[in-house]
């Protein structure tokens, strides 16, 4: 292997993507070529140091206005698409040939078209509420879909403050949205940040009508070890008047390690009587 061929392998060597054959060939060449060995070493050091530059990690963050700007643009774009008129097609020569040449026929045809227009107008007017209602429902569904996406995206972010924003977005989706409910329950059970877990417990209130949500809240209770979150879940169960939670509450009232939690569980049992 020549020096030039060796240098073509440097990039793979630095990124640790060298194949076994090439690695062996590189080692053989390096063993006998001090110049290539030195260069690979020097440049490799710089390659590793590049990782320490600020742009490499999270040191460079966009400003807070970028996200709202994007969502505004997206929303405007969608509105533009929805309200865009259908492209105008030039009238074909066939259509022009259908128009009569004699004035009397022209007047007759115009009157017929006018009457037809009035008829269509009445027909459309007789069933407007239904079609308008379906348009509004469609728009409503799309807005909800967008909010759901934002909430789900934010709940997956690394930063706790972003996840908190995701929780607050969850209030804006339909309470029947099972994906957002699942994401909130996941947050309650597994988010490493107590504040995010607490906010997620609060955000579960609107989902109270769902039996699955109520059951999931009861199941979440024994998984929690932080007294603050345990108390928040107990309060939620009391708000929901969830009698099914009594066995779990009795267990907490007798066995919870935190006296505040024991007391709150006892209070909840009394409330649910």
């Amino acid at each position: 292997m020549t020096c030039d061929q060796t240098k073509a392998l440097f990039a793979d060597y630095w990124s640790r993507s060298l194949s076994g054959t090439n690695e062996a060939a590189l080692e053989v060449h390096l063993a006998g070529c001090e110049a290539c060995r030195g260069e690979l070493d020097r440049l490799g050091r710089l390659w590793r140091e590049l990782e320490l530059l600020p742009a490499f990690e999270d040191a460079v963050e966009p400003g807070p206005k970028l996200r709202p700007r994007f969502y505004e643009t997206l929303s405007a774009y969608r509105q533009g698409l929805e309200s865009a008129p259908a492209p105008k097609l030039p009238p074909g020569p066939r259509l022009a040939s259908l128009w009569p040449r004699r004035v009397a026929w022209q007047v007759a045809l115009s009157c017929a078209l006018l009457l037809m227009g009035i008829g269509i107008g009445f027909a459309v007017r007789s069933a407007p509420a239904e079609s308008r209602g379906s348009e509004v429902a469609q728009l409503h569904a799309e807005v909800n879909n967008m909010r759901q996406l934002v909430a789900l995206s934010l709940l997956q972010q690394q930063s706790a403050s972003e996840r908190l924003r995701g929780v607050s977005f969850a209030y804006r989706v339909e309470p029947s949205d099972s994906e957002v409910l699942a994401a909130l329950l996941e947050t309650v059970n597994h988010d490493p940040n107590v504040n995010v877990r607490l906010a997620a417990v609060d955000a579960l209130h609107p989902f109270a009508a769902s039996p699955a949500a109520r059951e999931a809240v009861i199941q979440a209770l024994p998984r929690q070890t932080t007294p603050l979150v345990q108390v928040a879940l107990i309060d939620l169960l009391v708000d929901l008047k969830e009698k099914e939670a009594e066995p779990e509450l009795r267990r907490l009232a007798g066995m919870a390690s935190d006296p505040g939690v024991r007391q709150r569980a006892q209070w909840a049992l009394e409330k649910l009587q």
Binding site: K7, S15, E49, L52, A55, E57, L74, L154
Partner: protein, 188 residues
């Protein structure tokens, strides 16, 4: 299971415009860093991120679901960056003017001399990066800062993977030369 970028973009392409929000959440930070690395101006970088997602919307029907979304997005980002540079007449903000740019401090365990030397050396490397010609800086940014694989970089730049590897080697050599020259300047 997490929906892949390619699937999301295919959905956007088919008219599900709102799915772009998911792609924005996944990629806007990385894109922002790419533009800051290339242009060294936060405001311009934010405008460019906005521009990229707008272009994705406009050209959504031209997306080929068989190709990786990331490479396609960086292709668009490059075009946006070039257009922006032309608008500004090639003006580039100097590193000293970019207040938000500072090197990572050395580990707290290091002594004061060691830390100062570490910071100086990284500061020098940062300035050397900024003095690299655009094409060389770009390939290092895509590879080292954006974490793109060589195959993806080849897609973005429209060249062979082998060419990418050779260009990376050349960029590293150029970086070393600039770095050493600056070190000499400093010593004299």
């Amino acid at each position: 299971m997490k929906t892949t970028d390619n699937t999301l973009m295919a959905q956007v392409s088919n008219g599900e415009i709102s799915k772009l929000a998911m792609l924005f959440e996944r990629h806007h930070r990385a894109l922002f860093r790419y533009f800051v690395s290339m242009n060294r101006d936060r405001d311009v970088a934010e405008d460019l991120v906005q521009d990229v997602f707008f272009r994705i919307l406009r050209y959504r029907t031209s997306y080929d679901p068989g190709k990786p979304f990331t490479a396609w997005m960086y292709q668009i980002a490059r075009h946006a960056s070039v257009d922006q540079a032309q608008k500004r007449g090639g003006e580039v903000v100097g590193i000293a003017e970019y207040a938000g740019w500072h090197v990572e401090p050395a580990s707290p365990a290091a002594g004061p001399e060691e830390r100062a030397s570490h910071n100086q050396s990284l500061g020098l490397l940062q300035r050397a990066m900024n003095r690299l010609p655009d094409d060389k800086r770009e390939i290092l940014v895509l590879s080292r800062f954006q974490g793109l694989k060589y195959e993806q970089i080849a897609e973005v730049l429209g060249c062979e993977v082998g060419t990418v590897k050779v260009r990376i080697y050349r960029a590293m050599r150029a970086l070393e030369q600039i770095y050493l020259a600056m070190e000499k300047e400093k010593a004299s």
